[in-house]
Amino acid sequence: MPFPTEVFLFLVLIATGFMVARATNLFAAAMLTGVFSLTSACLFTVMDAVDVAFTEAAVGGGFSTVLFLGALALTSRTEKKQPAKLYPFIIVLLTGIALIIGMINLKPYGDHNAPIHNHVTEKIKQKEWAAVKRSTRPDRQTATATPHDKAVGLPNIVTSILGSYRGYDTLGETGVIFTAGVGVMLLLMGRRRDDEEPGGAGSSEAPSHDQEPAPDELEPSGIANEPTAADVQTDEEPLS
């Protein structure tokens, strides 16, 4: 009986979402987002999307939580009390209503007549299964391969589709990940590089509109809370 499991997981998901929104302790909120990710990973597993669940558990449950904790180490642990505002609530409400309206035309969950099961996917599935059967059971040669039904032939169809049928998309995705990494490096690591390599190539990006920094002063004095290179070298504690 898969239906009650999914309902239960959805209820846990909704409850966790509310708790994240209500939590004023940011550490608890960061941990609850990890719980949210793990619950949705369970949900994806129940829905037979194991690859998606895997990614959700690894990235959402693991890496994002580490990043949240990293951001938390830079700020305070509790959220400032803010008065409840009507304007954001209306935006959220409208977005939710729009999502529900968009959902009305979808087929019910698990419906075999849904378009996703009836177009290209079915053809690819048949072709790939035939190829896998040919390669794993050569003794049961039911049909010889013709150039028409040339297939990738991997047992995991998800990998076949991602790697071969949608190879360009995956290349683009890898490029997106690379670009994201480069963006984070540019945002967070630029000044640090100046500290470690005095007179390096990056030293020209120091903001020097209002005042010209002295040659021995590596840090622009306009930015508060930025320590000198000596502080960086001595203080080693990763999580205070």
Binding site: V50, V59, G62, L74, P155, T159, G163, Y168, V184, E236
Partner: protein, 144 residues
Amino acid sequence: MKKPMRMREIVVLRVVSRVLMPYIMLFGLYVQFHGDFGPGGGFQAGVIFSAALILYGIIFGLDAVQRVFTPFAVELCMALGLLLYAGTGLVSFYKNMNYLDYDVFGSHGQHYGILLIEGGVGITVASTVLMIFYAFAGRWRVSQ
């Protein structure tokens, strides 16, 4: 909070993380190379592999990880993975085939091609995740 204790001084964390680390990395490699047969692939494998290093970095400090995986090498790997993927596609140009047509690699070409590109994805994802962690963790030290 009153008495700050470094994580590497807590025996349980130190021992457990040391014991777990090789198995997490091994599991990452398993996910990488078993992606053809079961759930997984380069993306998940990269995240899992770097999760082991991030665990090590959180507990033993950033310097301990950066001694093995220097920021320069990680930067290099970020680009290397993407180039491996894109370069795999270029091979098929030699035989007048389409870009990223793995049939250049012979009768089992699809397998080899997917292995190569998954390797590229894994290298890029692992090093990018590690690099983002380095960028964030470098800031923690600044904020004492």
